[in-house]
Symmetry: C2
Subunit: 480 residues, 2 copies
């Protein structure tokens, strides 16, 4: 990626000043919502409302047009009716802005006239030497400068995850769910109809971006499929790209046409191509988030041999069967424990003589103080176990422990364990119920120990398999 | 099913008196847990502790053996060490009990000696003219008489669902999750290693039972596979049987051997046979519960044409694509609305000129008072829509409505709608977050209107497809 292009993206993600065009003076329209969120957020750059109808919005001076703003403007958020877009972009060109984001929808997704209008828009940007993303997009979230173009997100640290999403809904939901599960982001972009900048541009940028180590990509269509595959091949060698392709069915592809105006190629062609380039393909938003959790918390996990512990509360006979069925369907092994591990378990746990199977039925030891620590330590020391998985309702895993002690116990057990060794640990909550507030707090403690919590065996198995397959394929490629 | 056999089962499910053998006098062992739960429950039958070591447990008179109890004993719950089982059963025979449930584990699942012991146990029952279920099982839940052999469940009405589960964990979790989602049960049984009574016996009983309309079956193995298939074929003509087979992989099947001593046949043979008999096969506990919700709330749903509404909060572009991809992968159609429906939507909603697509993006109308009612009414009247599905975070579906009004609104909108017409409605919560307590309360209101709530598009699609496939196959069979 050349320096000039990188600088363009820097203006997009790190604007010093933002103009919001189309916030209403007297009612709540989308522009006003975006403006208010920016003003209320911790973003420290300048924010300029633009609307010829008034002199002030939310107590901030309002300008009649972008070119009337006396100071430099890096980023313009445009939320005016489609009919005023070209005029607004010409004004941006006159002002010499660096980048324009168009929220307004109703272009190529409505047909040929909209498509032509998008071509005009791109031309104005090209002539005016600024880049455009959208139309029909939510824009950007950059936690490094607390900049979010679609809402006032909580202040959060930056992290290694970038999102490139053609849909604002996917960007928005992935960011919210990610933040709730302890995921931190480098930069996020929703780019909509892609009249100018497209997924390939952003992929190029995040490939080169040293802050980004995991990329999530939601696309419905792409202008240059060949270039996308070349890029995915290159990026896949150094960073995982989790790809959710909207419109994988014929019926779904028809809907993408009316969402982002995307014309989809056959999904089977897409699927086989992106497999060749080691793209991590997912089929829905939950799988996207689950897989992201895996890449985020499990490190470069390539293992296939699991040490499973189930049934803390009520015995885990059927859990053992279900865990084995579901994880072995995804290519994992749950092999018998080694003689050493069995003897260590037997000598450190009080019920000598119990068969120490894998999955280990922890129901036998539920009432034994410190049993979980001991089991975890022994399995951590077993070189035949690549990953430790515990399955139980979170509130039952810790028995009758009162809340305050429980937090301490989780901290002591898991944080200490993670300090001593690097073997990854995963917790799976047993199915059937909504999460309680207390369990949600336990999850936050586990996340602090870099232990992801999955809501079901099947979702965990798929996500962990996605992670392991990616790193194994990457190794294979490297050795060829 | 002959009268004599039916009476045997009645004694099992409707005991007038229960003896608990093996509750400890001075410490909490499983027998004591079961005894305490029975004593604390609303079960009105007699409960007799049996233990030669004392004269009283939990303040209740204790007998040295079953045959020492002066009154009749219908049901014996046995939780003594494996080595005392035969002696206890001989005593049950001497007393003339009607049925014995053996909780104790450690028989055929440990090998040949245990298998022989089970044969002895069955012989004693046969000779003594009483039936045995177990060993290695949790037993029975019959809400009609508040009888639960494994714990003190909340008092709940009876309902149309029976569970036959080889594993106690599956019975226990399905009952708990079911009760939480408004499901009500006729009778539930966990039968373990099946030394005497097996899945086929229970299936025969529930096939004939007029209270039972939906059957859930969890099995790891079966003595008489041919008989099971014959029965499934017969039952499947009148009642859906949701079947989860534990041990569908080679590795999982090995685990079933050490769980309930089951020796599994090949899963592919099993799968194709049970498809032939119109068994509703599921692969994990969540799918079991989801499918049960579908049968419970959707009636005899055979449709394939969906009216979808998405994006209440933030616009539903990608939701429309995802809903279409996921549901059309399961064989459903989301066809364009009829001209009549479009014109009714246009005339009853304020944003004339909006394209009325299916899925309908409700984001346009989010702020419009009463929009949801109008949309629901129009889709209910459309004969081309078999099922209405709404997808959104529950707390966002109703916008900024305060809690008290919200309850009223949900009641008014959905309960009224359901009174006016019989078209089923499903709600799907958007992914990414744990359920909040408020959402859980909204779910309870929706359930009261017989509207099930699913946690994701993919789980809803699979469950609803299971329901529709069952009834369509049944129709085909009837017409052949």
């Amino acid at each position: 990626l050349d320096k000039q292009k990188f600088d363009q993206f820097d203006a997009m993600f790190y604007p010093n000043s933002v103009a919001v065009v189309g916030a209403s003076i007297d009612k709540i329209n989308p522009g006003a919502v975006f403006l208010k969120a920016l003003l209320d957020s911790s973003f420290e750059g300048e924010v300029y409302p633009v609307n010829p109808a008034g002199s002030e919005i939310f107590g901030v001076r309002c300008y009649p047009k972008v070119s009337a703003i006396p100071n430099p403007v890096d980023y313009v958020l445009i939320s005016v009716p489609a009919s005023s877009i070209l005029e607004t972009l010409e004004d941006c060109a006159a002002k010499g802005v660096k980048v324009a984001q168009i929220f307004t929808a109703g272009f190529r997704e409505l047909g040929t006239a909209g498509y032509r209008l998008e071509e005009e828009m791109a031309k104005i940007g090209h002539k005016g030497k600024f880049r455009i993303f959208g139309p029909n997009c939510l824009g950007i979230y950059n936690p490094a400068i607390n900049f979010c173009s679609w809402g006032n997100l909580p202040v959060a640290k930056t992290g290694p995850v970038a999102i490139i999403a053609q849909s604002g809904g996917v960007a928005f939901r992935t960011v919210n769910a990610g933040l709730a599960h302890g995921i931190r982001f480098s930069r996020v972009i929703s780019y909509g109809n892609a009249c100018d900048l497209d997924s390939t541009d952003f992929l190029e940028y995040f490939a080169a971006d040293p802050d980004t180590h995991i990329i999530c990509l939601y696309i419905e269509g792409v202008r240059d499929g060949k270039r996308l595959m070349e890029l995915l091949r290159e990026v896949g060698k150094i960073k995982p790209v989790i790809i959710w392709k909207g419109g994988r069915t014929k019926a779904g592809a028809e809907v993408t046409a009316s969402h982002t105006g995307s014309l989809a190629a056959s999904y089977s062609v897409w699927e086989s191509l992106s497999k060749q380039v080691n793209g991590v393909q997912v089929e829905n938003l939950n799988e996207l988030i689950d897989t992201l959790l895996g890449f985020y918390y499990l490190g470069e996990f390539k293992g296939h041999s699991l040490g499973f512990v189930v049934g803390f509360s009520d015995g885990g006979g059927s859990d053992s069967v279900a865990a084995t069925d579901i994880f072995s369907s995804q290519g994992f092994e749950i092999p018998p424990f080694s003689a050493t591990t069995r003897s260590h378990l037997q000598s450190s746990l009080p019920l000598a003589g119990t068969i120490m199977r894998n999955p280990l039925d922890a129901g036998f030891y539920a009432a034994v103080s410190g049993a979980l620590d001991k089991i975890l330590t022994v399995l951590s020391d077993d070189p035949g176990v690549d990953l430790i998985i515990l399955q139980e309702y979170l509130y039952e895993m810790f028995g009758e422990t009162p809340w305050k002690e429980l937090v301490k116990y989780v901290n002591d057990t898991f944080l200490q364990l993670r300090k001593k060794q690097s073997k990854p640990v995963v917790v799976i909550s047993a199915p059937g119920f909504p999460t309680t507030q207390e369990e949600w707090k336990i999850e936050q403690r586990l996340i602090a120990a870099r232990i992801p919590v999955y809501p079901s065996l099947e979702r965990a198995a798929k996500a962990i398999s996605n992670v392991s397959q990616y790193f194994n394929s990457r190794d294979l490629d490297e050795n060829q």
